[in-house]
């Protein structure tokens, strides 16, 4: 889960890393008051969870409080990459001598966190690493042994930084590494980390990403930051269809009928699970099909859940038929899913044999499932028909229908 800059700065501040005397507000008048309190030139920064805000005009420099108010009003009304800002940060315009970079991320291969430091901050660390590898220090640290300052010292010293600068930077990088661990971050970075004209160091911007799985044990921090449980911080807003999918999943604890993503094709997919659904989605597209959705079913869902999900997919405008497909299942009962999808067709007044292009779920309780499918004339396949072949059959079954999407419009 990503944090807004004003939240990330708050996290940095709590960890004891110096920050500027900034203010956050959603009101232009208040931005003026913050600028007055700061008493000098300020920077107004849009608070959005997307990149490129500088280019989009989301960062403005103001010399007077009146200018700050006007700039804040402009920035608050400015949409960036489809995102409206959460508010603005009013920051003193700093007189910076040099910019540094400090970050901590996971190294999946080493299975340890790694701290990164560069004396070339302010720009993409990726670029620095490529063009000036000797200006990027790296130091892995243990998951179970105590984190010590010497590790940060080694990391910084690798870049050639020495003297009082080194000694002032060590506690900052150490604290950043500690907060990364304490708050279950997957990314914690300060960029730029500024050395001011007076020789002090200040975090001028910060990025934080928290592991979603760790949210339950980080409730205290999230509450302090004002992040509610309902705030998922997805890259884009969920559509009504996707929210309806979540509602189907929530009605019953058995199995999964969620993870719904909308596309605009005409073939509805009730597919599962995990790797199987990734495989099937690719296979349908390779066969020339246009998926209307990506929609996973798994675990051992109840009849009601399978029914609810199939109904949702069938009711989506533009969907002509559905395909019900999974890789060989072991803990999901084939007969239960069969009952659910047939029930959905019948309740919506459709002939299951007509609406279901193919049912390819082999595995546990398949004999019982196939009997039910036979009774309603639904075409099904056993494990001798591959996932790709089943996908082709589904696409072929759709080819004869009258409704077609314009292929030029794409997905």
């Amino acid at each position: 889960m990503r944090f807004f800059e004003y939240e990330a700065r708050e996290v940095v501040k709590r960890a004891g890393i110096p920050v500027t005397d900034y203010g956050f507000t959603t009101d232009a008048g208040e931005a003026k008051a913050i600028a007055e309190r700061i008493g000098g030139p300020v920077v107004i920064k849009s608070q959005v969870l997307t990149g490129g805000r500088m280019k989009a005009g989301g960062v403005k420099f103001a010399d007077t409080p009146e200018q700050a108010e006007r700039d804040a009003a402009d920035v608050l009304a400015l949409e960036i990459n489809g995102h409206m800002p959460r508010g603005v940060l009013v920051d003193p315009k700093a007189s910076v001598k040099q910019e540094y970079y400090a970050g901590v991320v996971w190294d999946g291969t080493r299975k340890q966190p790694v701290m990164l430091f560069s004396d070339m901050g302010g720009i993409d660390i990726e670029e620095v690493a490529e063009q000036h590898p000797d200006h990027v220090g790296r130091r892995h640290f243990s998951n179970i042994l105590p984190l010590s300052e010497f590790q940060a010292k080694q990391c910084i010293a690798q870049t050639g930084v020495t003297g009082s600068r080194l000694n002032k930077l060590v506690p900052i990088l150490t604290r950043l590494a500690r907060l990364f661990v304490d708050y279950d971050m997957t990314l914690a970075e300060i960029n730029p980390l500024a050395e001011m004209e007076d020789g002090s160091f200040v975090a001028l911007d910060a990025h934080m990403d928290m592991e979603n799985e760790a949210r339950p044990r980080q409730k205290a921090l999230l509450k302090d930051l004002g992040v509610g449980d309902e705030e998922t911080r997805q890259a884009r807003e969920a559509t009504e269809f996707e929210l309806a999918g979540e509602a189907v999943d929530a009605q019953d604890h058995r199995g999964v009928a969620g993870n719904v993503t909308e596309f605009d094709g005409n073939l509805g997919l009730v597919i599962g699970a995990g790797g199987g659904s990734l495989t099937l989605f690719d296979a349908v597209r390779n066969a020339g099909g246009q998926p209307a959705n990506y929609c996973e079913i798994g675990g051992n869902p109840s009849v009601a859940k399978a029914c609810g999900l199939a109904k949702l997919v069938l009711s989506k405008p533009g969907v002509d038929k559905i395909a019900v497909m999974m890789s060989i299942v072991s803990n999901t009962r084939v007969d239960i899913v069969a009952r659910g999808v047939i029930k959905a067709c019948l309740e919506l007044g459709y002939d299951p044999a007509e609406k279901i292009t193919i049912f390819r779920i082999p595995g546990a309780w398949e004999e019982e499932g196939f009997k039910i499918l036979d009774k309603y004339g639904v075409k099904y396949a056993d494990r001798s028909v591959s996932l790709h072949e089943a996908s082709r059959l589904a696409v072929e079954a759709l080819a004869g229908t009258t409704h077609t999407n314009d292929p030029a419009s794409g997905q």
Partner: protein
């Protein structure tokens, strides 16, 4: 032969009284010659039995009751308690820990893996279905009930390693139907940090006479495939490898990137396209469809045997 487990492997189930764990225990006991599940652990449930398996409060009690060290543990406890359960297993001499639990924060996984490394233990998972040696033993839910697992897994020459539990069975079923069969299949889990990656299991398969080829299932995200490609090249592996990659459509979707700092550590190796290129450089064929895998691996094995003759 096989890797990781064989007919003599003893193991416990941690969290054995949970609904899923009770089923899993039944499935393992019923499979092959019958797994040697020598105990179960659920704190506060000492004195009960699950399908005849005695339940203890602690791993130490289970080890003491068994009388000699226990080789493995299947851990199926809620995410908040998994780290402690795995530490308990390792500190009581367990060498092989299969973690079934999903949604464990990666910091916890990293801690478990580091302790395992210090103690010479190995972790499979988390978020995985475990290990199966066809007709011999299964450790975990892999393949489902014994009679279903027997349909999909026939003994043979191919090692299977998969990031998706369900697809382990789908691919093994295809290999079994084609007459190739499976030496050992391992569901390794798909999380960002896992106990054993493809590259970390390769030396075990390399040393296993029964195994003549490897089939892997993979997805976008992470750099496990790049690590495998490097291992195969650097070690001049005797085993031909065929991969299947799902989720190619995700390359076209936003939000898949690690961000800048992640990229300099993890590399630009996380998309399906990048991975396929990297695998191909190492001589690993990426099959377009699962049904093509048996022919491709057969051809590669014959090619190597021809070259060796």
């Amino acid at each position: 032969m096989s890797i990781l487990v064989d007919a003599d492997t003893t193991f416990i189930v941690q969290g054995i009284t949970g609904r899923e764990a009770v089923n899993l225990t039944r499935e393992c006991l019923d499979y092959g010659a019958g797994a040697k599940i020598v105990g179960g652990v659920t704190p506060g449930r000492k004195g009960r039995e699950v399908h005849g398996v005695p339940v203890f409060d602690t791993v130490a009690q289970a080890v003491e009751h068994h009388g000699t060290p226990i080789k493995g543990s299947v851990v199926t406890v809620p995410p908040a308690f998994t780290k402690d359960a795995v530490f308990e297993a390792i500190e009581n001499g367990i060498e092989l820990v299969v973690i079934v639990t999903e949604r464990i924060p990666r910091a916890d996984v990293a801690e478990m893996v580091e302790l395992a490394t210090l103690r010479g233990a190995r972790i499979i998972g988390p978020n995985c279905l475990g290990i199966i040696v066809p007709d011999v033993i299964k450790m975990g839910g892999i393949g489902g009930p014994a009679k279903d697992a027997a349909k999909s897994y026939k003994p043979g020459a191919i090692g299977v390693i998969s990031r998706s539990g369900g697809m382990t069975t789908e691919m093994s079923s295809t290999l079994s139907a084609a007459g190739l069969g499976i030496s050992t299949a391992v569901s390794i889990g798909g999380d960002a940090i896992i106990g054993s990656t493809y590259a970390e299991l390769m030396p075990l398969f390399e040393a296993d006479d029964q195994t003549q080829g490897i089939v892997i299932y993979t997805e976008p995200g992470g750099r496990m495939e790049a690590e495998l490609a490097r291992w195969v090249t650097e070690n001049d592996s005797r085993l031909p490898v065929v991969a299947f990659m799902a989720g190619r459509f995700m390359d076209e979707m936003p939000g898949m990137s690690f961000g800048h700092a992640g990229t300099i550590v993890e590399g630009k190796e996380d998309t399906a396209t990048e991975k396929i290129a990297r695998l191909a450089e190492a001589g690993i064929t990426v099959a377009e469809e699962i049904s093509q895998i048996p022919e491709i691996i057969k051809g590669k094995i014959e090619e190597r045997q021809g070259a060796a003759a």
